[in-house]
Amino acid sequence: MKSIGRIWNSLANPDRIPRLYALVLGIVLIAGFLIPIGLNDHQLYPRPEPQLQINAQDPLAPYDRGGVTFEQRGIVKAQYPQYLPAIGEITAYLSPIAMGVSGTTLYYGTSIYSSPGGLIDEILYYTRGFDTVLESSILMMAFVIASFIALNFTMRRDD
């Protein structure tokens, strides 16, 4: 009985909590190796084979979804197409600079030019646009907190 009380008491120390959490997480992740892998073949956001577009010498390599801007829809799948009336229409858009760059190199799709002005990833900006809003607000909150703490040293310096 006494030892159980000691374990509970040791949990009251904040310094030990991250270690405890890391231990629990490690045990669960190692136990995960025993789980049989059952993947679903009908994925919501399918991708081509990893090296397929690169081997086909496509300059837009991992992001080529086909289509012509505003004329022919590219290949973009969605869970609820009824809520997305314009899906696939601008996925083939390239800015003038992007067109020039993609004519000179085979690695345009993975370069810094491709984002955000060059290639428009519709899954990121249209299908799941609210996720992008949330992600950037998480980043913004982190910067807000970090800058507040850096500007006002939140510690009693005389202690």
Partner: protein
């Protein structure tokens, strides 16, 4: 559209592309509770702690400075809005992002205080919140891999449960437990409450309470134990 989730009728949906917010009477109540509490926090002032001085009759007041007050009120409002969003979202990845936002804002609410003990425990809580983002997103992606979709409405209509979905939901729960700091990992948060500025600290409590209720609902939808 007559669809029921866990026995309650869907009152309405808010489609934002693939991310569909759905409302049942259950999570609509939690949504309204989070919003009402956020409103109360937005119009309230902080408490003042009074410490008795030893050996004399004097008291010492611990007040919250105005700058700090404004900053903490801003973060508390963001935390309340994120909690309200997590209550009604119908998408697992969106839910994890809301929980992540709650976790990082919770650190900020106590990061503005001037007590070293509280800052130390906030640092430990921050470590857990950062570690917990791994199982949180791994859990969501494993559920996506196992079912092919992350829309809760679509998962609700599936008829099977695989071990990988169970493992994904265990990781999801572990991630939420770390981000919100529930039972075995509670000590870091308990130390954080010792600082003045009561109504803003209570949103930390309320958000973790509501998020845990909501994640249990999501896990019941995914695993269908009944």
């Amino acid at each position: 559209m007559v669809v029921s989730i866990l026995g309650s009728q869907i009152i309405g949906i808010i489609p934002l592309g693939d991310i569909v917010f759905y409302m049942t009477s259950f999570n609509l109540f939690m949504f309204a509770a989070a919003l009402a509490f956020t409103f109360i926090i937005a119009i309230s002032k902080t408490e003042t702690q009074v410490e008795a001085e030893f050996g004399s009759l004097g008291d010492r007041e611990i007040k919250v400075a105005k700058k700090e007050f404004k900053f903490r009120r801003f973060l508390a409002i963001i935390c309340g809005l994120a909690t309200a969003g997590a209550m009604v979202t119908g998408d697992i990845f969106d839910f994890t992002l809301f929980v992540c936002l709650i976790g990082i804002v919770n650190i900020g609410i106590v990061g503005a205080v001037k007590q070293i003990d509280v800052l130390d425990s906030a640092f430990q809580y921050g470590l857990i919140a950062m570690i917990a983002s791994t199982p949180l997103f791994v859990g969501a992606s494993l559920i996506l891999a196992a079912t092919g979709t992350i829309s809760i409405l679509a998962i609700n209509s599936l008829t099977y449960t695989t071990p990988m979905m169970l493992f994904g939901s265990i990781l999801l729960f572990l991630g939420v437990a770390g981000e919100t700091g529930v039972a075995p990992f509670f000590a870091t948060k308990a130390e954080m409450f010792r600082t003045p500025g009561s109504p803003f600290l209570l949103i930390i409590h309320l958000s973790s309470l509501l998020v845990i209720v909501r994640v249990i609902e999501i896990l019941l939808i995914i695993n269908k134990p009944f």
